[in-house]
């Protein structure tokens, strides 16, 4: 049987993954659309910066985030001034870290989907009198349903499997920053293999089901994400 702390870790992980994915969808979707229609010689540089979390070791990203979140840095100091508590080793800090770490996993399928969208749909929408924002919500987003679902699913799955960044900026505070992967690591360290097996099997099944669903949608038009590696 799973302990109470394990259920807390499951709940916290799902909450973190959901919040991160929602934030990513809200903020990265317009960014991806803009990038898909932006032509500039500096575009490769900009795209590289956004894709860095794909190739950087999570500990490197976690280290820089930890430095940025510390009360001595302008970001950490500003956060403490606003909220009264420090950003490092807090749930909010985890959300921000997860957002940055999972950003390419949301951006890539959306960018691919928007790039592949026949721009004549947009032209027709404009010729029918749709403004830019209305065309985006009424035409473009419904036509890119598959990439949107894939982007949300990948962000969610990637956040659930997060370890390095979470460990660096969140530590291991039960109920506050202890997510599933950290709880699993702790069980292994304490030689509690039964608990570790239960959590591992749960994560394995969940990841398998989620990926099966995503592959199904990927076949319907959400491309460009299957080649990404962690």
């Amino acid at each position: 049987m799973l302990e109470h702390s394990a259920f807390a870790a499951v709940g916290l992980t799902l909450k973190l993954a959901f919040l991160t994915s929602v934030l990513l969808m809200v903020l990265v979707t317009p960014l991806a659309w803009k990038l898909a229609n932006w032509q500039h010689k500096l575009k490769p540089v900009f795209m590289s910066v956004l894709a860095l979390p794909l190739v950087l070791p999570p500990t490197v990203l976690g280290f820089y985030l930890l430095v940025a979140f510390s009360p001595q840095s302008p970001v950490g100091e500003g956060w403490q001034w606003l909220t009264g508590h420090q950003l490092a080793f807090s749930f909010e800090g985890l959300v921000i870290g997860s957002f940055i770490y999972s950003l390419p996993f949301a951006l890539q399928p959306l960018y691919s989907g928007f790039t592949q969208l026949d721009k004549r749909y947009v032209e027709v929408a404009h010729s029918l009198g749709f403004g830019k924002i209305e065309a985006f919500f009424s035409i473009i987003l419904p036509l890119c349903k598959a990439p949107l679902i894939v982007a949300f699913g990948l962000s969610f799955a990637h956040t659930i499997g997060e370890f390095g960044v979470v460990l660096m900026i969140g530590g291991n505070i039960p109920g506050e920053t202890q997510v599933l992967s950290i709880a699993l690591y702790e069980h292994v360290e304490a030689l509690e293999y039964g608990q570790a097996h239960a959590l591992s099997l749960g994560l394995l099944l969940f990841s398998f089901l989620l990926l099966t669903l995503l592959y199904r949608f990927n076949g319907k038009g959400g491309q460009g994400w299957s080649s990404m590696s962690r």
Partner: protein, 389 residues
């Protein structure tokens, strides 16, 4: 209508047509830049420099406004403030929104319906797509999708409607029927119609004015007859098309046949259907569908291709022994070999004979052997015979 469009390495086109020309056709060979010109006029070519005045008054200086890509094209009335002109563009590929069905597409178009919008029921009736209303976009055939795209544009009601080969997937009879409806509707609602089509006959029959584009430049512009004659005179058309106009004779009991008769200066020509000469003739028709057959219209026109015309040196018009119904006395004006890419031997096998009947022009494509046998030469009186159009 006046425009000046410049797109680096692709288009440098400038033209002016009288505002009375409600339906304007754009013709030209493949790759001439017709579609690019249309896209630029609609404001979809970001690199293009476009000056356009859709409703320019005749004989007045060009007044223009630069078109910004993805914005509603603007035009300036010479004597008034700038007005917004809604431009609708229907592509050859219908680009129906696949996330909603046919009804959903029409509803999206209706959301921003302008003052010239057609009611949904009238648009789908005219475009022959009532039975498609609840179908998904994926299930439509090419022709059905094109009809729905046209209905969607009419439901939106633009001031200018551009068709880029938008009815190419339809068979000739249905295309002709829908074009009749479209021209009549646009005339009634005062929508300027700009059509790009490979079908010269469609353009000749349904347009008031023509613009001929070659290599991104306007080669000729003006009335259909003028532009068609100019294109044919350059000798690069293998099978030139002529337009014959005349008075439509009302059918009565003494002529119980499903054909239309056209009186061309005393000569009766028979046709399966004729097209009204002036698309604006029905503007007073209160019928919302624009489908009423207003009997006040008198003049009609038919298109005749050179390949359909034979020449008879026997100047007797009525020859009861022939199955060919149509005969028109003409005079030979010119005989030339079309300059088309083919071997010299092939080029010498056929020739185009330009004929005139009063001020109307007709072409006949005949073999050089026939020219020799009939001793055809400019000034000779002959009878042009062609089958029912």
């Amino acid at each position: 209508m006046e425009f000046n469009v410049s797109l680096v390495n692709r288009i440098s086109a400038k033209a002016a047509l009288p505002s009375s020309m409600q339906v304007v056709g754009i013709t030209g060979p493949s790759g001439a830049g017709k579609s690019s010109l249309l896209r630029a006029l609609a404001g979809f070519e970001q690199e293009a420099s476009v000056s356009v005045n859709w409703f320019a008054e005749d004989a007045k200086p060009i007044a223009s406004a630069t078109v910004n890509a993805h914005s509603v094209t603007k035009a300036i009335n010479v004597n008034s403030a700038p007005i917004r002109v809604r431009v609708g563009l229907v592509f050859q590929q219908p680009m129906l929104f696949p996330h909603v069905n046919v009804k959903g597409n029409l509803a999206l178009a209706e959301r921003h319906a302008g003052s010239k919008a057609l009611k949904v029921e009238h648009a789908i009736a005219g475009c022959e797509c009532e039975h498609l209303l609840h179908k998904s976009i994926d299930s439509l055939s090419g022709g059905e999708a094109q009809r729905v795209a046209l209905a969607r544009a009419l439901v939106n009601g633009p001031d200018v409607l551009m068709l880029d080969e938008s009815l190419s997937a339809l068979d000739a009879a249905l295309r002709s029927k829908i074009l009749r409806f479209l021209v009549k509707t646009c005339g009634r609602l005062n929508i300027k119609l700009i059509m790009v089509s490979h079908d010269v006959q469609d353009l000749a029959l349904f347009c008031d004015g023509l613009i001929s584009v070659v290599d991104g430049e306007v080669e000729a512009t003006g009335s259909v007859a003028y532009v068609m004659a100019k294109i044919a005179s350059q000798g690069s058309v293998e099978n030139p098309c002529a337009i014959l106009e005349g008075e439509i004779i009302k059918n009565s009991d003494d002529f119980p046949h499903p054909f239309t008769r056209l009186n061309v200066s005393g000569n009766i020509l028979y046709a399966k259907a004729t097209v009204q000469c002036d698309s604006k003739l029905n503007t007073n028709n209160k019928d919302e569908q624009g489908l009423s057959t207003d009997q006040h219209q008198q003049r009609g026109k038919i298109a005749v291709f050179a390949s359909e015309v034979s020449i008879d040196t026997n100047t007797k018009v009525n020859v009861p022994s022939s199955s060919i119904l149509n005969a028109l006395p003409c005079e030979v004006v010119e005989i030339y070999h079309p300059e088309i890419p083919q071997s010299e031997n092939q080029q010498l096998q056929t020739a185009i004979v330009r004929l005139t009947h009063g001020n109307q022009v007709l072409y006949a494509r005949v073999s050089t052997l026939s020219i020799e046998r009939l001793k055809l030469e400019p000034g000779l009186s002959v009878v042009a015979r062609f089958k029912l159009q």
